[in-house]
Symmetry: C2
Subunit: 220 residues, 2 copies
């Protein structure tokens, strides 16, 4: 009974995710879904990404949290259009929440939407939202054992960003082990190492992302 | 329909949690439920706690993870009895999982069980397991905005441990703000600040815990 309900929820989520994807394609909007633990640095990474592509592309942000407007307020200060979704108790965003949030934007006036999911390494991986690119962020202070403990997240993502690498020297985080374990789960994954504090590695990510968006736009 | 199913799941969880609680009381076993984000340092904190109370009390550990035995293996090295629960996909432990895990222990031979929940700041707070003390851990690198974003966890816990405080100087984490926000959510909460790297603050936690266990034992 419960399993059946769960499957119905996942099937309905997938259906609306496809509707979202059609809408994004129809309007030429490239969509990122950022997923990570609480405190991995998602919002700071969104801000760094906005700074890197905001001159070239028209970007909007959707912030997902159980409660509060803390993240949306940080984004708002940059002048970027932003919608905050509060899930109430839910530990992940669902495609219907995105569908509803889209009514706040004029999609024809946008090139990119960055969705910041609820801080959680488990359930967001089960709920596609209609995005083109799924980005998992793993911060150095969390430790190098996360791909073993939360395999689905790393299996499902197109990109892994290892964040806060300025703290590598202070920790016993084994970057090579993480790369090996994640690549074993997902041979196609693209891995970046960044520090939003020092700026290290951000250009590699931004160059890759700009190229990805340009190809998407060209294919329209 | 979904809400009804959810309420049934929560009600069933509560029922089995009460059964667990009766079993713990009947055998004089004091039980801790440790909850935190992935990578907040739960297992390291369990190891430090084992070192602090393992000479006085007979302790066992239950490790919860979506996948892997990484944590159980770390505990096993200390000679402490440990059971690893792998939830498959579930983002939290449920009381029935604990009930099943208990069959691996001789409860009459134990004084304390430490349960390490799945790394998640959302759902574990909704699923009591029959424990006497709920401990939320918040690590400094996660940032000081977590009580605002994940209020239920801080509202439901008896203890907040702010961990990795050796990193306070490197961050803009506002400890006073966290204390204020958490106390506003939960005036009864007891707050400790610790670093398992330097040992700072651990004695305060251990003294409090030993006193708590002694009172529990005395009341048997």
């Amino acid at each position: 009974m419960e399993i059946q309900i769960e499957q119905e929820i996942l099937a309905r989520n997938k259906k609306i995710a496809l509707e979202n994807a059609r809408l994004f394609k129809g309007n030429g909007v490239f969509v990122l879904n950022l997923m990570a633990s609480p405190g991995a640095g998602k919002t700071t990474f969104v801000l760094a990404t906005l700074q890197g592509i905001g001159q070239v592309y028209r970007v909007a942000v959707i912030e997902g949290d159980v409660a509060s407007k803390v993240d949306a307020e940080r984004i708002k200060k940059t002048g970027t259009p932003v919608v905050q979704i509060n899930t109430g108790g839910a530990c992940h965003l669902e495609s219907r929440m995105i569908q509803k949030a889209l009514s706040h934007f004029d999609l024809g006036e946008l090139d990119v939407i960055i969705i910041e999911n609820v801080g959680n390494l488990v359930c967001p991986a089960e709920f596609p939202l209609g995005e083109h690119c799924r980005v998992a962020i793993l911060s150095v202070p969390e430790g190098d054992d996360k791909p073993e403990k939360y395999p689905l997240m790393f299996h499902q993502s197109n990109v892994l960003v290892v964040s806060k690498v300025d703290l590598l020297e202070l920790s016993n985080f084994d970057l090579e082990k993480v790369k090996q374990n994640v690549t074993a789960l997902n041979p196609e994954i693209k891995i970046f190492t960044v520090s939003c504090q020092t700026g290290q590695g951000l250009n590699n990510w931004l160059d890759w992302l700009k190229d990805k968006i340009a190809r998407f736009k060209k294919a329209q």
